[in-house]
């Protein structure tokens, strides 16, 4: 079987230690969290870091907590814990929807929220989830911490705002009343990357949608949060026509490529169809019609 090229290994004992190591070792160093994406890339020699900094001992980054305004999730929280979390299921059911279909149960035992976001694979699901939820990313360095939106976090495919001497430590998701969220994904087979995914989150104000967001995965850049979707949803009353309109906006705003997973036309269709579905379900949840 394939094996990685040689590298040096360091095990970080604290966030500060991890960041200090990163600062010292520079761009040739990478953090390894779950490792189930990074190590295959290293085995195929698509990634060849000189140093790996193992952050699996950073127990301070394994948590899901809430206060009055937001839910905070430590970057090392594993997929399995995101899936199992009753707190997340209660506030943001989109997480459970998505986690059920991210990779497979064994990979979910290792893979982490931070690892997924930092991998920044264009087909990765949690970026769309976090964008739909209007999450913010906490990035730490020796000089302190900064908080960026998901839109700013994603610089491009496989590129994030996290610098060489920085570390993503936390995701913050605002708690809003009367909210609902849902995730829809089509894949060729369980465990495969998405052909297309769509996540939706809405916040109701009485009978109308106060605001809402849709994040797409696997359909090109700048689709984790589409501005025109939010504009269309804001102040609108839920209806099939609205879901269709927003689905059409989603389809018009993506730029899918034809590949082995599907044709561009099919993916564009899915962007529409899955957005309709995720939105419909998010509203049903926000209005108490569906768990």
């Amino acid at each position: 079987m394939q094996v990685p090229a040689p590298f040096e290994y360091e095990r970080a004992t604290s966030v500060e230690h991890a960041i200090a190591l990163r600062e010292r070792l520079g761009e040739e160093a990478r953090f390894v969290a779950g490792g189930h994406s990074l190590l295959p890339m290293m085995k195929l020699r698509l990634a060849n870091p000189e140093y790996l900094i193992d952050i699996n001992d950073l127990s301070e980054l394994f948590y899901i907590s809430e206060d009055a305004n937001e839910v905070r999730i430590g970057a090392m929280t594993r997929h399995r814990d995101l899936l199992d979390s009753e707190l997340l299921a209660q506030h943001f059911p989109i997480f459970r929807d998505a986690e059920k279909v991210i990779a497979d149960p064994v990979v979910r035992n290792r893979g982490t929220l931070g690892g997924s976001l930092c991998q920044a694979d264009p087909s990765e699901d949690l970026s769309a989830v976090c964008a739909a939820l209007d999450a913010a990313c906490v990035i730490k360095s020796t000089s302190g911490e900064r908080v960026v939106s998901m839109a700013d976090f994603h610089v491009g495919p496989y590129e994030t705002a996290v610098g060489d001497a920085e570390m993503l430590t936390e995701i913050r998701i605002p708690l809003r009343p009367n909210s609902g969220s849902a995730y829809e994904k089509v894949e060729r087979r369980a465990g495969d990357w998405a052909i297309v995914s769509s996540g939706a989150a809405v916040w109701m104000d009485g009978d109308v949608i106060a605001n809402g967001r849709v994040g797409l995965a696997a359909v090109g850049p700048n689709t984790t949060s589409i501005e025109t979707v939010s504009a269309a949803l804001s102040g609108a009353a839920p209806s099939e026509e609205l879901y269709q309109t927003v689905g059409d906006i989603a389809a018009a705003n993506c730029s899918p490529q034809t590949d082995q997973r599907g044709t561009a036309a099919y993916k564009r269709h899915l962007a529409m169809e899955l957005t309709r579905r995720s939105l419909r379900r998010a509203v049903a949840r926000a209005t108490g019609q569906e768990a």
Partner: protein, 161 residues
């Protein structure tokens, strides 16, 4: 570098290269060849072992990362000459043919039953969905895990009475 871990209840301490994959460490260095490998990309699950009781793909884990943890391989399922009910289930229900994916499947089944002693068919199918079997078409694996669950339920009821 030196790595220390517990494998099937025994402490081991070995000199490794940082890049050594856990699957190679287990197979080549410890000689526990019951753990197999089938792909390079975390897809097939043939290499599944338990780390602290959770199924993990050992081809996508560094031996170094397993340092300080408890590893269970297929060789650790049988205790004092007594087969794990999962092993019996696989034999009784023809849950294996070539036997290559079997160690990983059994370890995942063990971890599942530890958490959920009475899983439905859907739960079992979900639990093993990160592991590929080319021979059985999965139905007999599902039956095998059910068999083990039934046996364990009976045993625990028996001991309770």
């Amino acid at each position: 570098m030196q790595v220390n871990m517990t494998v099937n209840g025994q402490e081991v301490s070995e000199e490794i290269e940082p890049r050594h994959l856990l699957v190679h460490f287990i197979r080549d260095q410890l000689g526990l060849t019951g753990t197999h490998w089938g792909c390079d990309t975390s897809n097939c699950g043939t290499c599944v072992v338990l780390i602290d009781g959770e199924p993990v793909k050992s081809c996508s884990t560094l031996a170094a990362m397993a340092g300080g943890h408890q590893i269970t391989t297929v060789e650790g399922l049988e205790v004092d000459g007594e087969l794990d009910p999962v092993q019996e289930g696989f034999m009784n229900c023809h849950g294996l043919q070539c036997g290559f994916c079997t160690p990983g499947m059994m370890l995942t089944a063990r971890a599942l039953l530890n958490k959920n002693p009475d899983p439905s068919e859907a739960v079992i199918r979900e639990a093993i969905s990160g592991q590929i079997c080319r021979c059985t078409g999965y139905s007999t694996i599902v039956r095998s895990i059910h068999w083990a669950a039934n046996k364990e339920t009976k045993v625990s009821l028996g001991s309770a009475s």
